[in-house]
Amino acid sequence: MKFTWFHLMPWPHMPDDFRQKHRSVWVDLPSKMYEPERGHGIYHQYLDQLEFAESVGFDGIGVNEHHANAYGLMPSPNIMAATLTRRTSKAALVVLGNSIALYNPPLRVAEEFAMLDVLSGGRLVAGFPVGTSMDTNYAYGTVPALTREKYAEAHDLIRKAWAADEPFAFNGRYTKLRYVNCWPKPIQRPAPPIFIPGGGSVETYDFCLDNTYSYSYLSYSGYLRAKLLMEGYWKRVAERKADESPYRAGFAQVICVADTDAEAERLYGPHVNYFYNRCLHVYPGFADAPGYRTIKTIQTGALSQFTQAAARDYPNMTWKDLVDGRYIIAGSPETVRQQMEELIKSLRVGNVFCLLHIGDMPDDKVRHSTRLFAEKVMPHLRNLWPDWNNHDDRFWIHPMNERVSLKVAAE
């Protein structure tokens, strides 16, 4: 198993009447709510937490890209990952990822990911999301029905740029470059391991299988509701006669660990509430621009903005509802261990993206929960895929052998 400690980096100071006062945490939330001087401390606290996660034994530390929102304050995850390259030395840097259709030219992603891979000594996991509709269409203006074509072309360019040893011309529909010449190149050849966040479209399953990429399902509704989708993925894997390495798949999970189940509710309840009711408060009109999802995906029943909004009733869900419905995995180390094992086995995932910072959780609680998970849960989950020796070379990093030791000037 590979455990990645994942940070969303939310804004933790949304007011109590946030839902009443604002229709959306994304796209049109006034930026006057953001306080830069407070933001200074928050960014550094969040980065410290990622570094702490490495020190207690997580395999990876993760960041991602979002725009115009208070849910996740990383318009550029690469800046965050760059700081982490200098103060960590073992963990994979899981950038999940760069919304490649948004970069102009997308060669920028090939360059910056190569920089991160070189800086980190070959520890980059490169994520290529399409991006949410809020980010890609509403905040960054990509035409919804052209988003996927643009994404596919960007992917093609990035892979070619990494593979080529000589300059070449790229005549795409969206990007035309007479001289593609990627300096620097990544350490990991032919490319860092690539993870694709997906939401249930068959096209994405095939894309992952065609390219040997790991499929990552990022959902906040927990593993019980994810089962149907992941079964669809594994069915496709079987149809394509690919091997069933669990490392072909990953899942994101909100996790809270305390000494007892009751203590977990007391410690983390308010922050879980903040996350589900403020961080996820997205206006349905921004969730799914018409044309963003393919017709085929809609026909296969992947959730639309209307059905998603209707299906979830977070404001009225109690801690018990969230725990019993396995939206979150929360409780004593033993409770969490049991449910994590069930998650990992039932979804058949080799990667778990652990969300242990939740909403407006203060630093001491984040570290408490993280430490308990690392010390009392993770060791018991290490050996769940013995047939695969708990590792799959195709879907994990290959760091260089001898890294330079850093001399940090301030010390």
């Binding site: 269409n137 529909r173 009109g285």
Partner: protein
């Protein structure tokens, strides 16, 4: 109203054409919402004209939308359709997105479009008067955006099905994604594809019609179109919103009849 189909090579594009009425030829290009059920404007125009109303790929039974990515693709497609229909000096009428397409056709093919009627056309952008974002609207918000009388307008829009029925909902979502997915190529995120720099080329005799209560594309845009097109007249219709032709079909018919 009856439908026939045109096929285009080599693209394989198939275009559904709705026809109604007798008289002089009138080409009608619909807006981003497509034709309304028993479209009141088409019905009114058909009392005097032979209305020929092709559906843009992505709408109704017209296909081939994947091959249309930008304004030039769509303009040339519309000119191909006009040629295939073999109409006699038609009045080219376009509503909203259809007006934007009609204006582009007239700017590019001056000899083929000599009589032009723009009903609350899209295509321009004024910073002080932003056009509403139709793409982020939920279905229940649309009547108020399209009609002066939202309640009466809502009844015209009703798709005739139960949104709580998952199968109907899926059908509706597919239809919505096809239509607005296509419209987004011209209108998302800002409905400006450079028409302002081409409008001076329009030499057609042009009637611009605007609902005085249009909250989607405010009436001030009517003045901008009038200023930019030399042989043009602007008619404002009272108590009408953006779907001016569907809300006040008789008044729009009269304006067209009087002008051409």
């Amino acid at each position: 109203m009856k439908s026939r189909f045109l096929a285009f090579k080599p693209s394989g594009t198939r275009v559904q054409v709705v026809e109604a009425g007798k008289g002089r030829d009138l080409l009608y290009l619909h807006g981003a919402g497509g034709h309304m059920p028993n479209d009141p404007l088409i019905a009114a125009l058909a009392t005097r004209y032979r209305v020929v109303a092709p559906l843009l790929p992505g709408y109704g039974q017209s296909t081939g939308e994947d091959g249309l990515r930008d304004m030039l693709d769509v303009t040339l497609h519309a000119l191909d359709v006009l040629e295939a229909l073999d109409l006699k000096k038609p009045i080219v009428v376009g509503h909203s997105m259809g007006g934007m397409i009609a204006a582009e056709m007239a700017a590019i093919a001056r000899t083929e479009v000599t009589k032009l009627c723009l009903l609350a056309p899209a295509g321009l952008w004024l910073d002080d008067h932003p056009v509403a974002d139709i793409f982020s609207k939920l279905p229940y918000e649309l009547p108020g955006l399209l009609f002066h009388d939202g309640e009466a307008g809502g009844k015209l829009l009703t798709p005739g099905g139960n949104m709580d029925d998952p199968e109907f909902l899926k059908e509706f979502l597919v239809m919505n994604a096809r239509r607005l997915g296509m419209a987004g190529k011209l209108l998302f995120p800002i409905p400006d594809r450079g028409l302002a720099q081409r409008l001076h080329r329009v030499s057609a005799k042009t009637l611009v019609v605007w609902g005085r209560e249009d909250v989607l594309i405010p009436p001030v845009y009517g003045d901008a179109f009038k200023r930019a097109i030399s042989k043009s007249k602007l008619v404002r219709i009272a108590k009408a919103g953006h779907a001016v032709g569907q809300e006040k079909p008789a008044a729009v018919l009269k304006a067209i009849k009087d002008f051409f």
